[in-house]
Symmetry: C2
Subunit: 917 residues, 2 copies
């Protein structure tokens, strides 16, 4: 014992002095090895110099008195434990020295292997391993690593020497070097050390060990480490531990080997041990790729007892750590050693299944199971992905990753073209400047969309997410040449009908037909997990649904209601569009009313279907929102029709079309987003409101008569003032009353406002007096609060994100400081004047996990998202509640990786391993 | 005395029982007559039954005991006072009976004249007036009025009878009726009364009087009166008074007459009595227009003593009421009677002069003088007006009255055409679909603008108000025919070069060349008033100035600084525009920087001029704000250039132009208002910011070197977040530091933010940490808060105002509830984090009086308005302070009328008078 107390903690079968609770003292590595040893897991023995040594050393520039003796005792203990001695020329004890701070710190020295080798011991190692090449190579590595890290010799000296010998030997790979050449290298390296340091490479293994430990402690004060601590806010006085561990070798014959495994399949989540193993090998052999590993299961045939032991040991680890483990192990001469274990990275599919399984097994709670699956990772399961297993091709351009998944298909340059091609059985990708409501028919048949303009919440993006289709918007490097009917994407020219591949998860566009991996889709495990999430949530998840098909999907996806039905989408069917245009272009009330009379039964029919699908859940129907000119043909279109009429000398038609053209020009707006739309339409064309309210309530009466329980909620868009809301609520109630009087029947309904304008948020208290629910349209609210047109923002928003002026795209994740403040204020004010008011969110943010967490904290009752996002939102809603109860739970979320990298053939990981073998 | 106290208050030379403080008791009319009598003004004597009688009567359904006696006493007193008796066949006393509540109430019975006439007395009156016609006509009017109001006989009965006699007499005008016919009418009317009521018309004058008083009290409970009280929130128990007054007659010979006058000229404000007079006449004669009145001054020759008396009496009234009086008077047989006096309606010119004069005379205080001139009325003085003295012609169409004044000129359909025509010496009105920044050169030479689109704050409107020119926007009935180069306005077709007249104060458009009245402009009196206003104000008035000419006007107009210099307007000069376009289209940093180097000295030169003009006052310069595509030619323009290049087989040019075209298309935005503009430009093109900051500070250094004291304030537009402001403030300071280091000189400057986005208002506390001033851009803030595009809002905003969903156009008068709340919050937050921060407003609202009052209440330091609005804003700023000190002062503001209606030839007013003569 000395002034700082106990300095060294041993781990070996005879004595384990640390445990899992001592991270502060033993560092991350030390504590893991101690805990494994304590669990009875076979671990190569060793000992850890605790962080108090480092702190003393940092403070006093010297080691505590008595440390040397404690260390000598530890080394002697270790020699006895493993039955070999440091510096023994026949059976030399070889050691690794590693740094290990309580918090992982990439800025510090990591590892020095093969300590204990010298000119004599190298012969013993050659004998023991049966390979002079291996022994010499290990020795040359020790000299190189030790000299660079401990003696501060320049790395270049060794590299140059190696290069010279390689070229004189005419080999490219180190593995092809002869024993003679390796001997030459060792000599050469030793002379470099002598020349640079003025001293020979230390032949005393004890000196090697002492110097290596000094180097670890010194590395605590390296500029990189200091910089990292400053950035991460880690205390300077924390200090690091040093772990000294026996080396083990998997290449001592056919009874040896090395492997990496998972307690459950990291790609699929199946509950069986999974991994790869190489007989008589070390990590390096797998890295070199010269030999093919076998599945871990092969061990059960070749070494059944050892396989049993491995399964038992790793099961113990999984039970102990209560999570799927990814472990590294070596078999040295029939003896199993675990070298490392950690929570396994896994695919979304595996994360879902293992979490549900472990909760079912009682290993973890349902809450833990929920928190272990990242909501965003579900999109990977639910959409097809490009298969990059044959390598990453060069992309043509990159745009906004507007809707995830992948699409591979033939290019169509217009919605009409897409319809024709799809009718011929082709898979189509719609490539346009941007999309408008006019393109819906083409978007419905395309597998993905690529636009040159627009952002993550442009029309194309919103529609794509609604349909669950892949979409890339605002890909700047696209230019359409209308005359030749081609487009340049990046530096290549494409014709309609050419193959194109889109990666909606990264925004990359590829030429040609890339292979596709189909979506996994929902399964029993995901369904179970989502059921738990819904049970846990305090915020409901509703769906946006514009059509009966959407509503069916919403019901299947367990949506708790429809939070947004955009009625305008119902008008784009060509047959309806004609009536719509007639209504808009009507010169008098009579003509307008006639056109509306045609539209009413069509709308009513759609609403009936929605009510049947969702009964008895609420269906929120938004009154007509877009500017009416969106329903009209373009001026160009009409102008060419006029020309045609003139050619045919059809003067009447020409005159009539001329009137239409003039009308369209009058209705044109310079900023349509802030134009004549939303409830402004209801106030200037009250007939439209009356038609829609009748259609909704007649549908409700009809379906109620059939035994359904329709719950219509009529939502007024773009409210900016109390007076608007008052007038329109009255108009709705009057229409309802007169309908109910006519039919001698009633049906319950409610009226609400969409809060999309800053002024509506500011005046929410007053507005709330006239309604029973309000729903934030966070897309428009974000646009107006920031003054960002979502369709035009690409040109600067990218730059903002790059310059880190914004931490996140406010159209994806809600801006808590600005838009969020308005929402918070509005909710408070609304609840004050109308305590029972229901609060919803029906913008795109309703499907974003981080935003859902925020909405939940505001006390929002429901979020409404596209049906494709339902699983993500449901899980996020569960997380929101659980996190609000235990904020520290955040760290429980397990990290997931794309499925393909879950396979063992991962070079990076094996490189890590090679250090310890 | 009785239970309710004194009931009747006499006014006559022997006894005046009321005074000006007894409005509650005597009603408006009674108190006025009492006060005049008390002042020694000759008023036909009479008495008032106080409101306590009415209240008793309403409560008890009977009169207080003793009232009859008090009344008999009063009548007897009156008979002695005037020397004639009620019912006396020779010298009959004739009376008027009028209602008069403490608050003027149009719903009540007004007046019954000629009470006291009957079959006998009518002969006496004929004798006394020398006209049987007059006496009979007076009798017939008494029967008619009394029977309708008191006896509730249907009006139609009398009308029908009159019609019959008119047609049998073959006359159209009552004045042409013979004495015989009038006798027939009186007979006929009396038989109608007998027939309908079953009783003859009451011949007893006392009964007439009693019944008339009953009728006044009854009229308190008439449905119209009740409805009016409900609407106006007047208490039901207030009650009305009844005034009984001697009739006087101006038609008793050449020594009699009647007139109306003003103590000072209501058109010019000159301090002399002004008005018209008709000898031997009554009001009716003036109404009939058969005789021409003479100027009141004529009296000084014909009846010098009486004129002296009139001047003396009305001067007394003016001094007493401390305001210009408009009075009615009658001379009966050489004796003057004042019948009514009230504060005079007057033109703006007169309001200014009389207020300043009266303050100089010590009659009123300076504060009162200021409050007597309505700020908005000044526009009438400061802009030319159409002269409608020859009658109102039919207007072609009506649009937004976007900028006041009038314009008469020749139509130009484009800015270029306007320039050509103006160069040829023509006065031009620019008639376009809408204007853009590209049209500035044409707007600069035009006398007025008329646009088919846009609202009160569209580009054309804003520019027009800045230039002080007349402008009508959003005139819906205009359609341009580009092929024929004509436009239809209303139902007429116009060619370029046709005459057109605009009334910017009402938004009406007229064909042809209407006569114009030149603007009065500022004068000594206005300047004095504005100096007082500036002294009184707690909020400063700055000016918007984009050019050195504007700055000169700002200085002349006593602006306390320049609050907004829009630098983009400096780039539209053709020579500069080319460099600007080169900068925008540059493919690399080098080309961009070269173009900016060309622009820098030009901007610097402009800034130098501004600093010289304003030294030592602050000049706030806004960095480039509009989207860059506003500086580029239109796609159509480039396309036709491409076609031309192709025709000339200039392929290089064609290819280059094609690139430009593509670039322009890429930059197009669907909602430019919310696009790539403002500080977003500074962040994506930092070179532009650096160029502008250098130009500003170099100009400051140069002018400081010349001995001026430049105060540059650099304003960053469209800030939405703290991070933007932080990055840009740093960029400005860095540019400044390196410039100062180069030049070895410094100059003080400050950096501020424009608060135009709701998010900027919400985050103002954080933003304020990085700046020394902030200025609200209330135009954009209103647009974004409401989600109203000001250019497109016409289509629904009109409807909103019509349906009274909005009380005022939020682009004209600040929306206190919404936008105002944001401002209030922002100011509070900014002052908390930066207590010394200067707060300004530089939107259009900075020139609106009502808005200035609100801004002043928020503690805003200055408002900045267009130079043309400076007088209005300065006066409004004075009002704001005075009103905040004494809110009740609001009622002190005298009502002004357009100058031409200030003349006496005002039929409406004479009709009012005719009742009392």
């Amino acid at each position: 014992m000395n002034l700082v107390g106990k300095c060294i903690y041993r781990f070996g079968k005879d004595s384990v002095e640390g445990d899992g609770s001592m991270r502060e003292l033993l560092g991350g590595k030390g504590v893991g090895l101690a805990e494994m040893t304590r669990l009875g897991v076979p671990v190569p023995p060793g000992f850890t110099l605790a962080t108090n040594v480092c702190r003393y050393w940092l403070d006093q520039k010297t080691y505590p008195k008595g440390l040397q003796r404690e260390m000598d005792d530890a080394v002697r203990w270790l020699e006895i434990e493993v039955g070999s001695r440091l510096g023994d020329p026949v059976e030399p004890l070889l050691l690794s020295v590693r740094s290990g701070a309580p918090i992982s710190m990439p800025g510090m020295m990591d590892t020095i292997l093969n300590i204990g080798l010298n000119d004599k011991c190298v012969l013993g190692l050659a004998e023991r391993s049966g390979s002079m090449r291996f022994a010499l190579d290990s020795y040359r590595r020790l000299i190189q690593m030790f000299s660079i890290v401990v003696l501060e010799v320049s790395k270049h000296r060794f590299d140059r020497a190696l290069d010279e010998i390689r070229s004189s030997e005419r080999v490219l790979e180190d593995s092809a070097l002869s024993v003679d050449a390796l001997e030459t290298i060792v000599r050469s390296f030793k002379s470099i050390v002598l020349e640079v340091t003025g001293k020979p490479f230390p032949q005393d293994p004890h000196e090697q060990l002492r110097l290596a430990i000094d180097a670890v402690f010194n590395s605590w004060n390296s500029p990189r480490a200091k910089c990292y601590r400053k950035l991460e806010g880690i205390s300077e006085s924390l200090g690091t531990a040093v772990t000294v561990q026996t080396m083990v070798f998997g290449n001592r014959g056919e009874n040896s080997g090395t492997g990496v495994g998972f307690t459950r399949n990291p790609s699929t989540g199946e509950p069986n041990i999974f991994g790869e193993f190489l007989f008589n090998a070390q990590g390096e052999d797998i890295v070199a790729g010269t030999r093919t590993p076998v599945a871990i299961a092969e061990l059960s045939k070749r070494m059944p007892e050892l396989f049993e032991e491995l399964v038992s040991v790793t099961t113990t680890l999984e039970r102990h750590y209560r999570d799927v483990q990814e472990f590294e192990f070596t078999i040295e001469d029939g003896k199993l050693f675990l070298l490392q274990t950690r929570s396994a990275k896994r695919s979304a599919l595996a994360a879902v299944r293992t979490s549900v399984d472990m909760a079912s097994e009682g290993l973890i709670t349902r809450s833990e199971a929920l928190l272990r699956v990242k909501p965003a990772s579900l999109t990977e399961m639910l959409a097809p992905q490009l298969n990059f297993s044959d390598g990453d091709p060069q992309s043509l351009t990159t745009g906004f990753a507007a809707s995830p998944g992948a699409a591979v298909g033939l290019i169509a340059f217009s919605a009409n073209e897409a319809v024709v091609m799809a009718a011929a059985g082709k898979t189509v990708i719609l490539v346009t400047e941007e999309t408008t409501a006019d393109d819906i028919h083409g978007m419905a048949v395309a597998t993905g969309f690529l636009t040159a303009r627009g952002g993550a919440t442009s029309h194309a993006a919103v529609v794509a997410r609604g349909l669950g289709k892949c979409c890339i918007t605002g890909a700047k490097d696209i230019s359409h040449d209308l005359t030749s009917g081609t487009a340049r994407i990046g530096s290549e020219t494409f014709h309609s009908g050419d193959w194109l591949s889109l990666d909606g998860s990264t925004g990359r566009v590829f030429a040609g037909r890339l292979p596709l991996k189909a979506a996994v889709g929902t399964n029993h495990y995901l369904q179970t997990l989502l059921d738990w999430a819904i049970e846990e949530s305090s915020i409901e998840v509703w769906a946006n649904a514009d059509t009966p098909e959407d509503a069916a999907r919403a019901r299947t996806g367990n949506a708790a209601g429809i939070g947004l039905c955009r009625t305008e989408h119902m008008f784009f069917d060509p047959k309806r569009l004609n009536h719509m245009r007639a209504m808009i272009l009507a010169n008098n009330e009579l003509d307008r009313s006639a056109a509306l009379d045609e539209l009413l039964p069509m709308q009513q029919h759609d609403f009936e279907e929605l009510f049947r699908s969702m009964s008895p859940l609420p269906v929120t129907i938004r009154l007509l929102d877009p500017p009416l000119h969106e329903f009209l043909p373009s001026v160009e279109e009409v102008t060419s029709e006029i020309a045609a009429a003139r050619r045919e000398e059809n003067w009447d038609a020409a005159i009539q079309l001329e009137t239409v053209r003039r009308r369209i020009e009058t209705m044109r707006e310079s900023n349509p987003m802030m134009g004549h739309r939303g409830c402004r339409l209801s106030l200037t064309y009250p007939d439209i409101l009356r038609m829609q309210v009748r259609a909704i309530l007649q549908a409700a009466l009809v379906t109620a008569g059939e035994g359904f329980a329709p719950v219509p909620e009529i939502m007024v868009p773009l409210i900016s003032s109390e007076e608007e809301m008052k007038v329109l609520a009255e108009a709705i109630h009057e229409t309802a009353s007169s309908l109910f009087a006519e039919r001698q029947q009633t049906v319950p309904y409610s009226v609400g406002a969409m809060i999309e304008l800053p002024r509506a948020a500011i005046c929410a208290g007053r507005i709330a007096k006239h309604i029973s629910f309000l729903s934030f349209g966070t897309n428009d609210l974000t646009q107006m609060t920031y003054g960002f047109s979502r369709d035009d923002s690409r040109s600067y928003l990218d730059e903002y994100l790059k310059q880190e002026i914004f931490a996140a795209d406010p159209f994806i994740t809600i801006d808590e400081e600005g838009v969020g403040s308005l929402m918070k204020f509005a909710i408070g004010a609304a609840q004050e004047t109308n305590p029972g008011i229901k609060i919803g969110v029906c913008g795109e943010h309703g499907g974003d996990p981080e935003s859902i967490r925020f909405f939940s904290s505001l006390g929002v009752d429901y979020v409404s998202c596209s049906t494709a996002r339902l699983p993500v939102a449901q899980l996020a809603a569960g997380h929101a509640k659980l996190r609000s109860e235990a904020p520290s739970c955040v760290s429980l979320e397990c990290s997931t990786v794309p499925a393909e990298t879950g396979s063992v053939a991962n070079v990076e990981r094996l490189e890590e391993r090679s250090h310890s073998v």
